[in-house]
């Protein structure tokens, strides 16, 4: 489960640092704040040239397609240097359009057999690597094979391991061990075949939304075998897109600069506009400093963007011409609490927790509508199949009286002690958890706030099945627009709870055979409407068990410099600025 940890680290950070997990979708249909896409217009023919500066606090974990799992980096990679068979259209402000794959390296969006267990794509003639060699079917096949080397290629999404038709060995792991050892290579060669320019994937179970996964994640992108140095390739981008890293390379702590790739052909890749001449990334800039610099809008900062959220304390400074440079956008991430089923075994106590959760106060403490909105499900509203669960009110106010009654009926001694474990971050998030504590304490709980460092002990602590936390914070975004990338990764005990060492992402140690069976049934359903109904029923089951308590949907509140034009953050880039269309005023002249 170590592979998935990074994604969650990032998810936790999304609340305060705005670097989220892989998430596709993300719409603004649910009424984003001022300055959302209505003011975002994309022009096709803008002056080329200039440099876009990206000011960031958090570092890029990986530029390796098979190892990247952070929403911001997945989106940037695809727009700058890592192309896939299909992609989400650039600058698509319509959520529906933004979540519909279009051909990129392939000639179409793929051919599936009847039950979607076999997919074929044909490569275009013409796309080249940065050294001028053509992109071949073998490169595609090699790229995906790297995911199987789970000891070297860590941190990335590993869905393909569960889907690809490769037999398991005695330990229940795939018999193919990746390209470095070559063990089981013949099995992989059978599952993925190249016929000239046509690549065919064979799965052991139906994967109807495979193209969505290709467009959302980068783990299916091609990779050149002769450029592969295993773990050392983590931050060494090798480009097949419009930009490549300059000769100085990428510095893990400070960033780097992407310059134009002269082997990229604009007439062949008509999707990416590739307007600026350069992208310069500056990492490790302190959170408040990023926003202060963007507000000041001086020098190079006038051409700067960031995925740092404006903090609530800075809201009053976003007025006048600064407000015109701000955008507020519903992110594809949702935050929630899970009760620890090993400790809070009494259903009525869990129900009391659910009733006493002050989602309105939590959202307000994070800054209200511009930063957070109370949610009614663990599924983000932008994910197809989302249903607001009627068990949770829209305004997010707690029902203290109901919680008190439930606690009295539960027969437990009061006040009932609760240890709430959460990731420490900003001043705002400290207030948010203090708000939760206040309403729990009113209802008859005695809450101890246990704030831990998300880049340190937080995940180690909550992923221990024997942890003494009673209530645990989590944050999640769908990997591609489907509920199947939300509920099973978080609540399927069979994939999460491995022995006594880890509970994976099932932090609450939730084990339910009924829920597991319902997940299997919903995932196998190829009829989309039926599947969505099955997911909604499953969500009801989880809510009845109080397997989770929804908190809020995070908003992105980004600023940009005054010289940045064609600025869009939309569904197709998980709500992050779309580098495929961005441009600098007058081409930076």
């Amino acid at each position: 489960m170590g592979t998935n940890r990074k994604r969650l680290v990032a998810a936790a950070a999304s609340m305060v640092v705005a670097v989220g997990v892989a998430g596709c979708g993300g719409d603004s249909g649910s009424g984003s704040g001022p300055g959302d896409q209505s003011s975002q217009t994309v022009k096709a023919d803008v002056p080329k040239g200039g440099t876009v500066f990206s000011l960031e606090q958090s570092v890029t974990q990986s530029w390796d397609p098979q190892r990247t799992y952070t929403g911001r980096d997945l989106s940037n990679m695809n727009r700058l240097f890592s192309r896939g068979l299909v992609m989400f259209p650039v600058g698509a402000t319509d959520p529906e359009e933004g979540a519909t794959p279009i051909p990129d390296l392939a000639t179409d969006t793929g051919q599936a057999n009847e039950d979607a267990t076999q997919w074929s794509f044909t490569l275009k003639d013409g796309p080249k690597w940065q050294d001028g060699k053509p992109i071949t079917c073998e490169d595609l096949k090699y790229g995906m094979s790297r995911t199987f080397a789970t000891d070297v290629i860590t941190g990335g999404p590993n869905y393909i391991i569960g889907y690809l038709d490769i037999p398991q060995d005695a330990n229940g792991e795939p018999a193919y061990k990746g390209p470095y050892t070559g063990e089981g290579q013949d099995l992989y060669d059978k599952a993925v075949t190249c016929d000239g320019n046509t690549i065919t994937y064979r799965f052991k179970k139906p994967w109807p939304d495979f193209p969505l996964a290709i467009a959302s994640l980068r783990s299916f992108d091609p990779y050149r075998q002769d450029q592969d140095k295993g773990a050392k390739s983590q931050l060494v981008p090798f480009s097949d897109g419009p930009y490549k890293i300059d000769d100085a390379g990428w510095n893990a702590d400070t960033g780097g600069t992407f310059i134009r790739n002269d082997q990229w052909d604009a007439t062949e890749d008509t999707n990416r506009q590739a307007n600026p001449d350069k992208f310069t990334f500056t990492l490790g800039v302190e959170a408040e400093v990023v926003i202060d610099r963007l507000i000041a809008d001086q020098g190079d900062d006038a051409s700067a963007i960031s995925t740092r959220n404006v903090t609530p304390a800075q809201f009053p400074q976003i007025t006048g011409d600064v407000a015109a440079r701000a955008v507020d956008f519903a992110s594809p991430f949702s935050n929630y609490l899970v009760p620890n089923f090993n400790r809070v075994t009494n259903l009525q106590v869990r129900q009391a927790l659910a009733a006493a959760t002050d989602r309105a106060g939590y959202s307000a403490a994070l800054g209200g509508d511009k930063a957070s909105k109370p949610s009614q499900s663990i599924v983000n509203p932008s994910t197809p199949g989302y249903v607001a669960n009627p068990a949770y009110s829209a305004d997010g106010k707690p029902d203290i009286e109901k919680a008190k009654q439930l606690l009295e009926q539960s027969g437990e001694t009061l006040p009932y002690p609760i240890k709430l474990t959460y990731p420490i971050g900003s001043d705002a998030s400290e207030k948010a958890f203090a708000a939760l504590k206040a309403s729990y304490d009113q209802a008859g709980f005695d809450v101890t706030l246990d704030g831990l460092d998300p880049s340190g002990p937080y995940y180690d602590t909550i992923q221990k099945p024997g942890s003494d936390s009673d209530l645990i914070w989590g944050g999640w975004g769908a990997d591609w627009p489907s509920v199947s990338t939300v509920i099973p990764p978080l609540f399927d005990s069979r994939i999460n709870i491995v022995g006594k060492s880890s509970n994976g992402q099932d932090y609450g140690n939730y084990k339910s055979d009924a829920a597991n069976a319902a997940m299997d049934a919903a995932a196998a359903e190829t009829d989309l409407d039926k599947a969505n109904q099955m997911w909604a029923d499953l969500d009801n089951l989880l809510v009845q068990d109080v397997a989770y308590i929804p908190l809020d949907v995070s908003q992105f509140y980004f600023l940009r410099g005054s010289n940045v034009e064609n600025y869009v953050n939309a569904a197709s880039t998980s709500g992050y600025p779309d580098l495929g269309v961005i441009s600098v005023k007058d081409g930076g002249k």
Binding site: A313, P316, G361, A364, A365, G367, T448
Partner: protein, 342 residues
């Protein structure tokens, strides 16, 4: 300021000072005065020191009364008042003055609406308790080490001296950050009570660390003093009469050290109040949502532009506490050791 050359000279002749002070007070009795009373007379003459004493006393009284007021329900540092905030602005307090009203004389916190006065008062209690405990332990430990080193001399002095060097060479802040989780867990394991929201064990950690890294300067100061005292006749007399070591340390030498100790103590208090505030900045110490002066200020600093009053009030109060304690310490030093001058 008010101490002039005449004071310095007059100190060499205590009877003269006595007579002068008595004449001023209109008294005629010729009762002798202890050094403490002399110091107090000098202290009272300094208006600034007296003002600092009054302010300090007020803060200490506030700090003592706030847990009682909290129990009585007069203070309420934890309840959210989102109704006093404006959702459209991102939940900033209503009105221009940070939400100041009759019920909330110092306003409410933005985004959550907790009462600022309650948080500051309870915060003062915790911060001053931590500073007081840490100062007492620092001074006590430093004094014992200093007396032993200074009196014994030789190899013991050398060992204590090297321990002092070693402690001073440690990167204290880094240690504090790195060890906080481990140390707090250990403290819980050996049975230090958690207290409400972990306040006891986390507060104890701060006290412990401040004291561990605070004692060497005290020990050095005391050692220097003891080096001169041990050559005095009354110490020789005690040794000749066969007094035990502890008796010499604590009955003969210690009474001659209280003046520098009192001064050091009063100067240490404000230093520890601000140290607690600084540590809060780094996320070590008392946990959210229990207020201390440090974490209230930590939260307020970000609002210097966004909500000026919420920033200004805690900042001004912490500044006042630190300045008042510093002036008090200064005044005490001047009064107890007038030869030092200004």
């Amino acid at each position: 300021m008010t101490l002039t050359a005449s004071n310095l000279e007059s100190h060499s002749d205590d009877h003269f000072v006595d007579a002068e002070a008595d004449a001023q007070a209109g008294r005629v009795d010729v009762e002798g005065r202890s050094p403490l009373r002399l110091a107090w007379a000098r202290f009272r003459k300094d208006k600034l020191s007296m003002a600092a004493l009054v302010v300090t006393t007020i803060f200490v009284l506030c700090a003592i009364s706030s847990p009682i007021l909290l129990k009585l329900g007069v203070l309420d540092p934890y309840t959210n008042h989102t109704d006093l905030l404006v959702p459209e602005t991102g939940f900033f307090p209503r009105g221009a003055l940070g939400g100041i009203s009759i019920h909330h004389p110092m306003g409410v916190e933005p985004q959550i609406g907790r009462d600022v006065l309650s948080r500051l008062m309870l915060g003062a209690t915790l911060s001053l308790t931590i500073a007081l405990a840490a100062s007492l332990i620092t001074v006590a430990f430093g004094t014992v080490a200093g007396i032993i080193a200074g009196f014994t001399g030789g190899i013991v002095d050398g060992i204590i001296g090297r321990i002092i060097d070693l402690t001073l060479a440690f990167p204290a802040t880094l240690m504090l950050l790195g060890l906080s989780q481990v140390a707090v867990d250990k403290m819980k394991a050996i049975g230090i009570p958690n207290g409400p929201n972990g306040a006891f064990v986390n507060g104890f950690y701060i006290v412990f660390v401040l004291a561990v890294f605070g004692w060497p300067p005290v020990a050095r100061l005391i050692r220097g003093q003891v080096l001169t005292i041990r050559e005095r006749e009354f110490v020789d007399a005690a040794i000749l009469m066969g007094a035990s070591r502890p008796r010499i340390y604590f009955k003969e030498i210690l009474p001659n050290l209280w003046a520098p100790l009192l001064v050091y103590f009063t100067l240490l208090m404000p230093a520890y109040v601000s140290a607690e505030a600084a540590l809060s900045f780094l996320g070590v110490g008392i946990k959210n949502p229990t207020p201390t002066l440090g974490n209230v200020l930590n939260s307020a600093v970000q609002f210097a532009i966004g909500d000026f009053f919420f920033f200004f009030i805690p900042a001004a109060i912490i500044a006042a506490i630190v300045i008042a304690f510093n002036l008090l310490g200064d005044g005490a030093r001047d009064a107890l050791d007038p030869r030092a001058g200004r």
